[in-house]
């Protein structure tokens, strides 16, 4: 009886210092993988559905062109017509040249040919503006594009 009593008493604290190690490990994982959203999207975008799609490989080689109607708080100022957003502001097709040039500038010499322009375009958009964007990209020699889409819900 005495023996059991002694054992019970000694089962006291456990060291929780290793818990912080584990948590820190997780923390570093998320810190490394996290990517802060660089731009705030000011247009409504519902991507079209498609099945024949591939993952965009290198995020650092991608620049985004957003096309859609302005979000509700901005509709008073910018109207409800389809607009294009580059970086953080509404732009026109003529701004694409500078946009692509600025993105190219950031990349190393070897990566410049790999630059991909990703189209984030709302499915309600008319093809006219899409074609204008594509024509401008051809003039800028930015020929690798990707139409972003979502997988259809089953």
């Amino acid at each position: 009886m005495k023996l059991i009593k002694k054992k019970k008493r000694s089962a006291g604290t456990y060291s929780s210092s290793s818990m912080s190690d584990i948590v820190f490990m997780l923390l570093f994982f998320f810190m490394v993988t996290t990517t802060m959203r660089e731009e705030e999207i000011n247009v409504n975008i519902k991507l079209p559905e498609a099945t024949e799609i591939a993952k965009l490989e290198r995020k650092d080689l991608t620049c985004y062109i957003n096309v859609g109607t302005p979000i509700a708080p901005l509709q008073g100022k910018f109207g409800t017509d389809t607009r294009m957003q580059l970086n953080d502001k509404f732009s026109t097709v003529n701004d694409i040249r500078d946009f692509v040039a600025a993105k190219r500038e950031q990349l190393s010499e070897a990566d410049r040919a790999q630059l991909t322009v990703a189209f984030k375009i709302d499915e309600q958009t008319r093809m006219g503006i899409v074609t204008d964007v594509k024509q401008e990209l051809r003039r800028c020699q930015a020929l690798r594009i990707s139409y972003l889409a979502t997988l259809p819900q089953k």
Binding site: E49, K55, R126, M127, K134, L137, L143, I145
Partner: protein, 193 residues
């Protein structure tokens, strides 16, 4: 004597701080994967550059989408769901019809001499076509190509296209090259931009 009573650092609050940071990063992290349909735009034609050679009419499949999102293939209206099989028979041309594309025997590595279709799918949209319709049409055309590639990959290498090695995938791509030409869109007569 004083040495014996070395104060122990209470590390339990460290975990709290780390948890706090962890939840912050957990919430802000975005694991969104961007998936999309990769394409290559054709380089722009310079003025002095000579125009690309004319393609024989039988080798072209005309796909038109008008501003009302209606589809027309080779002058006949069609529903989107039938487009995939139409593209497949166009590219395969199983009976060697004279109104379907010609085939040219090419020597492809890992496969050998094989007839390759010269067919080109020409997609023309209107300025008023909706983007969702455009993507649906593109998707159907791509599906036709990937099904053809899959069928060929299974018959040749006993594996679907996606599971082949890099050089074998290239061989399959050589047998069914992606020939989609996008004509400049017609100006909209009706409908808003």
């Amino acid at each position: 004597m004083a040495k014996r009573s070395t104060p122990e650092l209470n590390a339990s609050s460290m975990a709290d701080i780390a948890f706090l940071l962890l939840t912050f990063f957990l919430l802000t992290t975005t694991m969104d994967q961007n998936i999309g349909m990769p394409r290559r735009l054709p380089p722009i034609l310079e003025e002095e550059q000579e125009k690309p050679p004319e393609i024989n009419k039988r080798n072209i499949m005309q796909v038109h989408v008008n501003s009302m999102d209606a589809l027309m293939v080779n002058g006949k209206p069609m529903e989107v769901i039938f487009l995939k099989d139409e593209v497949k028979t166009f590219l395969l041309n199983p009976n060697n019809d004279t109104d379907k594309p010609e085939k040219e025997v090419k020597n492809i590595e890992l496969v050998g001499a094989i007839p390759v279709s010269k067919g080109v799918v020409s997609l023309q949209t209107d300025r008023g076509t909706s983007y969702s319709m455009y993507m649906a049409v593109q998707n159907e055309i791509m599906r036709a190509y990937s099904e053809l590639r899959d069928e060929f990959a299974v018959s040749q290498f006993q594996l679907p296209y996606a599971r082949l090695s890099e050089d074998r995938q290239e061989a399959v791509r050589g047998v069914y090259p992606l020939n989609i030409s996008e004509a400049e869109p017609r100006e909209a007569k009706k409908g808003k931009r």
